[in-house]
Amino acid sequence: MQRLVWHVLVLFAGLPALLPAQGFGIYEQGTCAMGRAGTGVAAPCADGSAIFFNPAGLAGLKGGRATLGVTLLDVQGGFTDDLSQQKTKLDDPLLAIPQVYVAYGVTSKLGVGLGLFAPYGLQTRWPLTFDGRFAGYDNILRSVYIQPTVAYQVTPWLSLGGGLDIVLGKVELNQRLDLAAAPVPTALVPVPPGSPPVLFGQFGIAPGTDFANAHLEATKTTVAGHFGAIARVTDRLSFGARYLMQAKFEYSGTATFTQVPTGLIIPADIAVGALTIPAGTPVDAFLNAPPLSLFDPTSGVFRTQAVTTTIRNPAQLALGVAYKIANGWTVLGDYQRTWWNSFNELDIIFPQDASGLLDRKLFERYDNTNGFRVGAEWARDAKWTFRGGYLRHQGAAPDETVTPLLPEGARNEVTAGFTLKLSRGLTADVAYQYIRQNDRRGRTREALFNQVPNTLLNHGVYDFHAHLFGVSLGYAF
């Protein structure tokens, strides 16, 4: 069992997801629920996924449930530049999001469980020809929640549940550095106090001149809580609510830099401050020799060094209703509020960089979002159950923050799925989900000098859609 848990953790760690929900949220945490558009706060699926969809749903469980599932994501999208009208496509592979739930009804009122899921995370991978590589070409944000859960039926109509989340966080950013946007050290070209430094672009270096590759990686484990309640008003009607607390990660990791050859040659003698660079000097040699020595492993600005940042997975509240109509039909509706305003500014700090040139402040300024889900389920007989649903949610990123890191926006999604009972204790779930994100204007670069971005920086359109396929096996014991 210990070995199995380890393998599952490794699987989670290796396969992050891309953008299935607003912000960097992921809602596809169970194949059954996915088939009905993620509804289920008032009536979670009986596969143990209540650990995520509403911890109170474990109360009253008869026997045990173990479910192992995976959601495959086929992500399509890209960025079309206004001027060139050329489209750069996302370079994401087929991704997989696993889920594991084990739940057990200890008594008729008390249920316990353990779940592994990843409600937040993203991966955006762009080709190195994309202008957005300077913001990040392979970016991973991963949060694996391990949630031991307990639920209790307080009264015949009210169940309460809660879990402690141990959250394993990892962030990874790979980006190229553009020499045109790089500041010339003020020791070489002094500027008046308060003035921005001179950029290499002012010496003619063209935008899009890669001169370094940056790899930032950091990990952090933190804790959060998850609570839920379900009120069964009648045999047919129930209401539910759940609240997932914010998880704050104070990441600490390492930044490594490698020089990328520009291949440029200085064509004529040129004065840079007090220094005259002779004609024929390779730019790459100039960057890596005194007085700059940018890549010197002990003293260079781009030496391997520590990096810190703080990221908050936002709190989320979901409210839901479920109503059993007749003849095996149940309709469900959920509303979700996610407090994305906690993802406001991203300070990437290099505490060992005395020059201060490396520190970055990314203004995200996300908006809180509302999402609406409707679903229906039809239990045709003891063997087959069919599901369908539709959901819509707002985009969290404001108009000025639609970037290669996370070019998200408002989405409409349709889902379908079914459960097939294979044998007395074994069931299989299959679901499909189509995500269509509204095309959205955005940018490929961050503002210079950590300035607050605005929509004037937007110079193209991001498009995005995805096909999700979910499959899981459940075992009742």
Binding site: P196, A206, D269, A271, R440
Partner: protein, 407 residues
């Protein structure tokens, strides 16, 4: 009944879905709306100092904006026309008085003053021209032997060539005006061997056009020159030996100890050209107390045979350009030379092309004539405007387009 409800619900769901899927209002690139405008969505200009916007012995943002290329880019109405804007006061700052050496920015500013480019770095360059560029420099940078790179080559192109920067801009239309320096440099030195020979000119020019062809862009090729040398139209940077003979003989530079040889006198002096730099260099030396003599047989003075050589070379260059344009289906225009011929002949005499500069006058009074800026070589703002009009007409005539007139 249940089936109907399901169908109704599904229909309602689809309607909601369609309504909800409206995209944001998205911008599209600017496509000029006039006839044939699609070709001019993204214009790139290649060339030398005239195209870059060099005036009065210097260049800065103010003069760059006066370039015919910027004017044409403006009326073409396509995507924004970006030039490598230089910080004030320029690199070098233009003269305010070429006779005193005063430049924009005042005290402390010299011909070696060179400020960097503006911090607003454009995403691409539309004006890729570099002052001093000859035909070989279109595809080559220093320190390759035979090239003519200078600090502006670095500041404008950043280690790339004009062709590389042109191609990076993904042009739909290109103008090329290159070759003037292949001739002018030799003329200033009074040495015909320094001129680019026609074989090299043809080869380098063809390479440039191959690159333009590779982009799929249309093009206009502009004939070498600012007037036809064969029509005895020369830049006011050059004055005849006769003119210098008259000025020195009449004591225009007295009491400086400068004299003039008899070989500068007419009729020979009428076909001899003395550059401003050489002639006034002698005057400056004499003003320092050192006696000097202007001899119209010694380099860099251009003697009659050399004048004929340069006039013929200009015709050969332009025949090559015209032949290439015809073969490749590009527009070709010699109308700028024709226009300059007219300006040189315009009355009152000397108002457009002064035969001898108005010594001591500030640049604001056009000491070389109204057609030229304060170095006697580069067109004035007004002439840049006339050049732009001529080129637009040539483009419209070739491509049947309706690019609006330059205001």
């Amino acid at each position: 009944m249940t089936q109907r409800r399901v169908v109704f619900a599904a229909g309602l769901g689809c309607a909601l879905l369609v309504a909800a899927c409206q995209n944001d209002v998205l911008n599209s690139p600017r496509v000029p709306a006039y006839q044939g405008g699609t070709m001019f969505q993204r214009y790139v200009a290649m060339g030398n100092s005239i195209t870059a916007g060099f005036q009065s012995g210097g260049i800065n943002d103010s003069t760059q904006r006066q370039s015919y290329a910027v004017l044409i880019g403006g009326v073409m109405g396509g995507n924004r026309f970006y030039y490598p804007s230089l910080n004030s006061f320029g690199c070098p700052p233009p003269f305010t008085n070429i006779f005193t050496g005063a430049r924009v920015g005042g005290a402390g500013i010299t011909g070696t003053t060179c400020l960097f480019r503006s911090p607003n770095i454009p995403p691409y360059l539309s004006n890729v021209a570099v002052p001093g560029a000859e035909t070989i420099d279109i595809m080559n940078n220093g320190p390759t032997p035979g090239t003519h790179s200078n600090p502006l080559t670095q500041l404008f192109l950043g280690g790339r060539t004009q062709v590389q920067v042109m191609m990076a801009a993904q042009p739909t239309f290109v103008s090329a005006w290159i070759g003037n320096n292949d001739l002018l440099g030799a003329a200033q030195a009074g040495d015909t061997t320094l001129a680019t020979d026609t074989a090299l000119f043809r080869a380098e020019y063809a390479k440039m056009l191959d690159s333009i062809n590779a982009t799929g862009a249309g093009a206009v090729l502009i004939a070498v020159g600012l007037g036809h040398l064969a029509n005895n139209v020369v830049l006011p940077f050059f004055s005849s030996g006769t003119t210098w003979f008259g000025a020195i003989s009449s004591g225009a530079f007295a009491p400086a100890p400068i004299s003039v040889a008899a070989n500068c006198a007419p009729p020979r002096g009428d076909t001899v050209l003395v550059s401003f730099a050489y002639g006034f260099g002698l005057v400056a030396t004499a003003s320092g107390g050192t006696p000097v003599t202007l001899d119209c047989t010694a380099p860099p003075v251009i003697e009659p045979a050399e004048t004929r050589f340069f006039a013929t070379l200009q015709l050969k260059y332009n025949a090559i350009i015209q032949g290439e344009a015809t073969a490749r289906g590009f527009a070709y225009t010699d109308s700028v030379n024709v226009m300059m011929d007219s300006l040189a002949a315009a009355l009152p005499a000397g108002s457009q092309f002064r035969p001898f500069p108005n010594v001591g006058a500030a640049c604001s009074t056009f000491p070389f004539g109204a057609a030229f800026s304060c170095d006697g070589i580069h067109p004035s703002t007004a002439t840049q405007q006339l050049i732009a009009r001529k080129i637009v007409r040539a483009i419209n005539a070739k491509y049947g387009s309706a690019i609006p007139n330059i205001p």
